[in-house]
């Protein structure tokens, strides 16, 4: 069953089009890399999928539930970690996890929460206030909160920001593990090497329109004139610099 289905999604802010006619879907176990230059509409797309922004037109459904028409059910299957996540400064690390468990009506969360704290090396910070955490630790806590209720769709906006090399490695591993267990990911990042390492599929946006959507392997062949062994970086710049979104849509 399709976990995420975005169909003809449009979003405009006071007449300014941020995203136009975007359609794509994500299956269980897939990791979709969301790429695009600044202002391409990546964060708007993620926020609309998370049910934070209403679409101007189009439909977004998670596990068959429309995010706008039936938001509570749709959001039960979802976790969203924004770029530079904000935490409740006066709450401790453990209280964040307790709150997330309660909001998702998890009866027994302790074992899973402790395992996550262990995995992300936050055991020693269990009783620390969020305001006392470093940038990287805050990011790790936000990820722990996202994983805790085992959602089937996880949206990550620049997930590696603030993490040290070990944190990045742990994060990559955790994404792959969760995907192996059936979770679907949408990962927005400017780190092309990370996307290349992790993602099974790509969605390239430019000025709010889709330039490419499909498996990573097909991305190179979609852009005529690119050799098969070119890096994702070459592909990205070829796709977005001087790209004609309309022509690119036909290509993908």
């Amino acid at each position: 069953m399709t976990v995420l289905d975005v169909s003809d999604f449009h979003k405009a802010y006071r007449g300014v089009v941020a995203v136009e006619g975007l359609s794509f879907s994500v299956e269980p176990g897939q990791i979709l890399g969301l790429l695009g230059p600044n202002g391409a509409g990546k964060t708007t797309t993620l926020r609309a999928i998370a049910g934070i922004l209403p679409p101007t037109a189009g439909n977004i459904s998670i596990s068959g539930h429309d995010v706008h028409a039936d938001p509570v059910t749709a959001k039960r299957h979802l976790a969203y970690v924004p770029d530079d996540p904000n935490l409740f400064d006066a709450l401790t690390v453990w209280e964040h996890l307790r709150f997330i468990a309660a909001i998702h009506r998890m009866d027994d969360f302790q074992t899973a929460a402790e395992a996550l704290l262990d995995q992300f090396e936050l055991v020693g910070k269990r009783d620390a206030l969020a305001m006392e955490l470093s940038r990287g630790m805050r990011q790790k806590l936000a990820i722990c909160c996202a994983y805790l209720h085992r959602p089937c769709l996880i949206l990550l906006d620049e997930p590696m920001t603030g993490l040290d090399p070990r944190g990045i490695r742990d994060m990559k591993r955790s994404i792959l593990t969760q995907a192996d267990e059936g979770a679907a990911f949408v990962v927005s990042s400017h780190l092309l090497a990370l996307v290349e390492d992790l993602c099974t599929h790509l969605l390239i946006l430019h000025r709010g329109r889709r330039l490419f959507f499909g498996p990573v392997a097909e991305a190179r062949s979609a852009f005529a004139g690119l050799d098969g062994d070119l890096s994702l970086e070459d592909l990205f710049f070829r796709a977005t610099e001087g790209a004609d979104p309309a022509a690119a849509m036909e290509r993908s």
Binding site: I52, K75, A79, F88, D89, L91, F99, A102
Partner: protein, 542 residues
């Protein structure tokens, strides 16, 4: 429709309430934390104490007057909040709430319920100390407490209802509806005002009474009347009736809010962003907004070892935020200058009572502007690491950083003192001496502000319950006042000594100015030292 918040939201409210208590007592066991907590409690006791102990001494306010004017005050509060844009807060959630709750499996109505419940808790807490202050205007403790708590809720609910209506009907229709509503309210006010004028009493209070008691005045103020009745209720029966009126008004607003079920999430994010922007502006430049002011430009100042570039940057900040600054200065000039001119007597001198008022206004403006003109280190906390790595000497950088607020403050005082000299020719020598003293005095004041900031950099208290943060602010304020008082005392002492020994006013002024000059140089050197020892990694965001 499901209104009751799910267990997760209930737990969040509980944890946040617990956090308020924890914030108040955290670190209280340490000497420093305990001292700040003690100081905060002492100030609170000094603030509230007189209201408790002297409640029997002060004559109670006539209940009729309270019932007459409180609805008017409430109406004014609601209208002001709606017109000034601070109504945004009614639907604004904190950044953490946006990130965690907007994508969580809770309905919009449940989120609103959560927000209202949280606000009700805050209103309940705020109403407690306010009850002590307003007690003499009311009939009973419980009546005053409930009237205040419900009045705070009324302002919030009305704003929320208006904003959610705007989201539901669309911005364009909302603008039209607002025009109709404002026009209707305006017509009522004009009608009531005409009636009041017809009485021709000449007494402002009597006219206001006539305005409030007229038919259109009663119609416009009817929704606010039960709150005044609650405040002044003396018997149980009166209180129950008044509370029923309050409940009806608040219930109607709550009903509208939940019935609309507006999709407010996007508007809420925008409101939250605006609130964050306002906070950032307050931190970096006081009340000055630089939005849309990029076109106001200035040529680069002479380099002066780097000090010129620093002063240019700060002046640009002042120029781009000049709208607010000009308004303040305009109020001072329009308010003080013509008043003095009009009140000149036959001898060409203004009324002596004005002298004290003008000096007090000058002192207040100095305190206000010195705290508000943050075009120096205080407004640059987030960019201090960048300043530290600039290839200019710390002294040049310090001078450039301090120059602009000192100059603005000195110009303002110079203008006010000149007016004083013109209005009171007798006081002209004193005014001229004060003008000469202004620049070194302002260097001391702004220097002390920056010195204390660099030694103990802090933002505002981190949230409700941060009593230690409040105590810390009080301690720092006390420290600043103490240092400025000692500096001024020494200058005054030097002047007095010179006057006593020589009997010449000019010599006394020179002695005082020289002392202040030496002190100001010392303060600038101390600010430079504090800047050099400032540790960005300990005091700025990671």
């Amino acid at each position: 429709m499901t209104l009751a918040p799910p267990p997760g939201l209930r737990l969040l409210m509980l944890l946040q309430a617990k956090a308020v208590v924890r914030r108040a007592w955290r670190g209280a066991g340490t000497l420093r934390g305990g001292f700040f907590l003690f100081l905060a409690l002492l100030v609170l006791a000094m603030w509230l104490g007189p209201a408790i102990w002297m409640r029997g001494d002060a004559p109670p306010t006539d209940p009729h007057r309270v019932r007459l004017f409180m609805p008017l005050i409430l109406l004014a509060s609601c209208v002001t909040t709606l017109l000034t844009g601070s109504s945004d807060r009614a639907i604004a959630f904190t950044p953490a709430e946006v990130d965690f709750l907007f994508a969580a499996p809770v309905s919009r109505r449940q989120l609103l319920f959560y927000k209202l419940a949280k606000s009700a808790f805050a209103h309940g807490l705020m109403a407690a100390p306010m009850t002590l202050i307003f007690m003499r205007h009311g009939g009973s403790w419980i009546g005053v407490y409930l009237a205040i708590a419900f009045s705070l809720a009324l302002v919030q609910l009305l704003n929320m209802a208006v904003l959610l209506t705007a989201e539901t009907v669309g911005k364009r229709l909302y603008s039209r509806l607002r025009i109709v509503a404002v026009a209707a309210m305006g017509a009522l006010v004009v009608w009531a005002f005409m009636i009041a004028l017809a009485r021709q009493t000449g007494d402002a209070r009597a006219m206001l009474s006539a305005f409030v008691e007229s038919t259109p005045g009663r119609i416009a103020l009817a929704p606010f009347a039960p709150f005044a009745w609650t405040l002044t209720a003396t018997g149980v029966g009166q209180l129950v009736l008044a509370l029923a009126g309050c409940a009806a008004v608040l219930g109607l607003l709550v009903g509208i809010i939940f019935h609309l079920d507006a999709d407010y999430l996007e508007a809420s994010i925008v409101a939250g962003r605006r609130a964050a922007e306002r906070t950032r502006q307050r931190r970096s430049g006081g009340w000055m907004s630089t939005r849309g002011a990029a076109w106001r430009n200035l040529p680069m100042f002479p380099r002066l070892g780097g000090a010129g570039a620093m002063a240019w940057r700060q002046t640009l900040k002042a120029v781009r935020g000049a709208k607010g600054l000009l308004i303040v200065l305009l109020i001072l000039v329009v308010g003080v200058g013509p008043s003095l001119w009009v009140m000149r007597d036959g001898g060409g001198s203004a009324h002596p009572d004005l002298f004290g008022g003008l000096v007090a206004a000058l002192a207040w403006a100095t305190v206000f502007l010195s705290g508000t003109l943050r075009m120096d280190f205080r407004g640059d906390l987030d960019v201090l690491p960048m300043l530290r790595q600039l290839p200019i000497s710390p002294m040049a950088l310090t001078l450039g950083q301090l120059a602009v607020p000192i100059a603005i403050l000195t110009i303002c005082q110079g203008a006010a003192l000149t007016m004083l000299a013109v209005a009171f020719p007798v006081a002209a020598p004193w005014a001229l001496a004060a003008i000469a003293l202004a620049a070194p005095f302002n260097t001391v004041v702004i220097g002390v502000e920056n010195l204390v900031f660099l030694l103990y950099p802090s933002r505002a208290p981190s949230g409700p319950g941060d009593l230690q943060g409040f105590g810390r602010q009080i301690a720092l304020m006390f420290l600043k006042v103490l240092v400025v008082a000692v500096a001024c005392g020494l200058a005054f002492g030097a002047g007095a000594l010179a006057l006593a020994t020589s009997g010449r006013f000019a010599l006394a002024a020179v002695a005082a100015i020289s002392t202040l000059l030496v002190e100001s140089l010392g303060i600038v050197a101390l600010v430079r030292w504090a800047f050099v020892r400032f540790n960005p990694s300990a005091h700025t965001a990671a």
